[in-house]
Assembly symmetry: C2
Amino acid sequence: MTHDPSRRALLAKTAAVAVSGVAAVGAARAEPLPVPDSNKSLGRPLPPEEYGMPSKYESHVKRRRTDVLVNKQNYSDWSFTPLHQQLGTVTPTGLIYERHHNGVPDINPDQHRFAIHGMVRQPLVFSMSDLMKYPSVSRFHFMECSGNGLTDWLKPAARTVQQTHGLLSCAQWTGIPVSTLLDEAGVSPSATWALAEGGDGSAHARSIPMKKLMEDALIVYAANGEMLRPENGYPLRLFIPGWEGNVSIKWLRRLKLGDQPWHLRSETARYTDPMPDGKWRQFSFEMEAKSVITSPSGSMKIRPGPIEIVGFAWSGKGRVRAVDVTLDGGRTWREAQLEGPVMDKCLTRFRLRWNWTGEPTTIASRCVDSTGYVQPTVADIQKVRAITGFVQHHNGVFPWSINEAGEVKNAIA
Amino acid sequence: MTHDPSRRALLAKTAAVAVSGVAAVGAARAEPLPVPDSNKSLGRPLPPEEYGMPSKYESHVKRRRTDVLVNKQNYSDWSFTPLHQQLGTVTPTGLIYERHHNGVPDINPDQHRFAIHGMVRQPLVFSMSDLMKYPSVSRFHFMECSGNGLTDWLKPAARTVQQTHGLLSCAQWTGIPVSTLLDEAGVSPSATWALAEGGDGSAHARSIPMKKLMEDALIVYAANGEMLRPENGYPLRLFIPGWEGNVSIKWLRRLKLGDQPWHLRSETARYTDPMPDGKWRQFSFEMEAKSVITSPSGSMKIRPGPIEIVGFAWSGKGRVRAVDVTLDGGRTWREAQLEGPVMDKCLTRFRLRWNWTGEPTTIASRCVDSTGYVQPTVADIQKVRAITGFVQHHNGVFPWSINEAGEVKNAIA
């Protein structure tokens, strides 16, 4: 299907066909092309009311469970955003990635309650209609699973960028600053941590520092202009900008304030990082600067000639300042063009023109964020981390190899 | 349904219920609330692949054909965005308003062609895969039908803000600057206008000044991260930022360059504005600064106490600089708070805290844009325009009346 944007790179950029080269169509004619059937027939009429859906010709654009890291069940599982098919920085709401610990609960918003308790002056319970009355804010932010890319450490097998980096999405999130509600409850001066718990079958919970909650965390009920989808936490979730997705607790039902972390299962058995000295690092919340080339990317095929290199960059620490691209396996780097608006903790698109000669090579991108942090290589990371099992926070420079036939493949696998 | 955001204003802002006031729930308990059933059961498992949909509890959120201005057919018709339910500045893609002249055509993108011809050095024909290779840009812009609000001139009958202002949406549009393709075709120095024609059954077409096309117009194939929906022009449309929606030709199949406008049906019989001297104004493309309060708005009900006033403002001439709100029928105005990022030719959300005493009143908003233009009153517009029949470009200040019972109604009707 030639309309698949993943084929963007399939054809050399000899883009337009001169009309004079098209049989029976002259440049001087009023109708330069045969009038299509769609011009000669009635279209589909408007129904009385509707919620629109994508074209049937786009039915291949789906989020997918991975066939790389196969689960024997599909309750504690993931689905991946098709980044190579994302056109713009906003992820279509129906394609925002998922990570559930016990499937998607069915929560009636009229019955949902959210509580703030623990070390507060006045414990509070909110219904959804209570919450909808508070002043809201809307912010564009990426969201990334700490496990994004973990399949590429020990036994790299992922083929497409959906599989290597698809636990990543971006949306306009709408909700209430957590600080607004905590101020109303009256936070004890001794409270330094909060336990956030979801209303799903796993009762997924995390300990979160009060400092971040007061800084920029949101109690979110909408994404991209509408109420959250069930799989994204309907009717209420926490959203912690720039931090690993699993702390943005979905189906949020309570925040309990305390003076130390709870050392929950997701802070001991999971979501921890092995270090070279044999110890495991806890509470590595921040998603550090990262980037990936989405076109050309794994399973695409290119032809010699001009190629438009396109990708995404992001940082949990702030804005993307620059993205460098290597076209020769890391020997030299060229600065890519960033597409505005470049927003804080938000996906940013970069692009670079390249003339591929047909020689096999390896391409990759490297993000520099507004703090000056430079996305590390895998070798850099291996110096300070132990790479064993399911390692989180893999933000290494990610290479795609291109062979003589123009086939693009995961260069780590 | 208490989760309906249109009920945001229904309850006074005595938002949170103290836990101590809730039976059998004590502030000191580890579980401040009964554990909900969703915490005790398996959720819905993940399917192998999916395109997500809104919650069943949100099925009332739809775009709708109007029952105010009833058409006897539904091919040349409109559907309206539920602005009072839009949470954030991005309109959910499935809720972007529609205006069709002959229904929604079914166009196979593999067969679609787009031509540039007329006064060019080299006529060009593009397939969709040709177009996907060009450097793209993504921009947040509102889109508004020139007829938005026309039902409120002669016989005002619209009750909700969906009916009064719902021919308005906002999205991240992705495509190619028109200038890129025109430069490739080589524009004749004499070319001052272009005819843009769609591939629908009405062959809807408009004459557009070359200056605007070269300035910021886009050939768009995606909205909010994915390929356009069929009703929004799939697979290709023109997008003219800040101008009346009908020039952003959907299902775009050609641009023909010339040295004068074509005076098409949509430039003589429609999309023209009657003036006081009996003449009709043509080519009034720009959508001037406008705003509307979406909450509280028509058909909502409020109670005395603190009220959060929320609305949208926009301008086809640039950014929103300020929004003033009157709470006393226009006698006094207070400056509302704008929510960032405030972007060029983009919906901007404003808000203002109000303590409603219970006295009947009329509320309204007034937009000031970055050129200094101030949204006029209906009386202002009537001085320079003739208000007869289907008048386009109604950007007058729009009032909602509130009676003693707290019922919010269209104050023009």
